[in-house]
Amino acid sequence: MLLPNQLKQFLLEPRFYWMATRNQDFICEIHRVLGVQVAGTDILRIFIYQGTASRTKENLLANKLIAFSVTSGFTFESYQIKGKLLEIRPVNEEEEVLMKNYIVEMDKMLVALGYSVSGVLTETLYTPAWSVEFSIEQVFDQTPKVGTGKLLTSV
């Protein structure tokens, strides 16, 4: 099992989620992730807004490579999870609800941190969205500290 239970728990709270992909020329693309689910043993499902994800989708279909980042807004505890695409499809109703709840919770978190006023995130466009399922191949600790970037688990 590549995803430690502690990290599974960490992913359940509202966090900053991002993903990176790359094209055939090895040029990267960053995209905001609006929710995550643990979809099985060593499988994650993440949700991204379709309106800005055309290159990300092209990259995923071309080479399947994903780097996913999760960071706590309070402690800066951070992890990077690298893996390979299993499936990309439109989100279902349940996943749309999860995305909406994530945005609401993140909005509350940003207010609690003093970064923004209430409601700034609730205008975030999130539908239509893609559900991106990927298998986990490597997990890295990226919490800011000397020696960070350590490989925690890998296939």
């Binding site: 991002w18 020329d25 990267c28 980042s69 990077q80 690298k82 970064y115 800011p144 970037g149």
Partner: protein, 128 residues
């Protein structure tokens, strides 16, 4: 290329992101505390811990940066190409000062130590 609106997203209030790609084409993403505005065509990032990012930049200078406005949560994606590193001089000193301010703001005094200012030419900017 970099507008006035974007400068506040480079004050380190919200962290930025950098994505790089190694020689085998494996993407890597890392949170960075500081994307520093130099002029409308150049930015610098602080090289602190991210050894993998630095190794990737040495083999592939093309990076993707995401900067975030702290109050509006507007985002800009920058594609940029690594130019050079500076580990002394005015830019380095200014980034040390900003990094100390960021560390103080988030309770991480003594954790961040600037190794170098990594300077990039900005190739394109997209509002996200």
């Amino acid at each position: 290329m970099i507008t006035e609106d974007m400068k506040i997203a480079m004050q380190g209030i919200l962290p930025s992101l950098i994505a790089t790609c190694d020689a085998d084409g494996i993407p890597n993403i890392a949170v960075i505390s500081q994307t520093y505005y130099i002029d409308k065509d150049h930015v610098a990032i602080s090289h602190q811990f991210f050894n993998k990012t630095i190794r990737n930049i040495q083999s592939n200078p093309h990076v993707c940066l995401m900067i975030i406005h702290p109050s509006e949560v507007a985002m800009w994606m920058l594609h940029a190409t690594h130019s050079h590193a500076e580990n002394e001089g005015e830019l380095f000193d200014q980034m040390v000062m900003q990094l100390e301010a960021i560390a103080s703001m988030i309770g991480m005094e003594g954790v961040f130590k600037l190794q170098a200012a990594e300077v990039f030419n900005v190739d394109s900017v997209e509002f996200r």
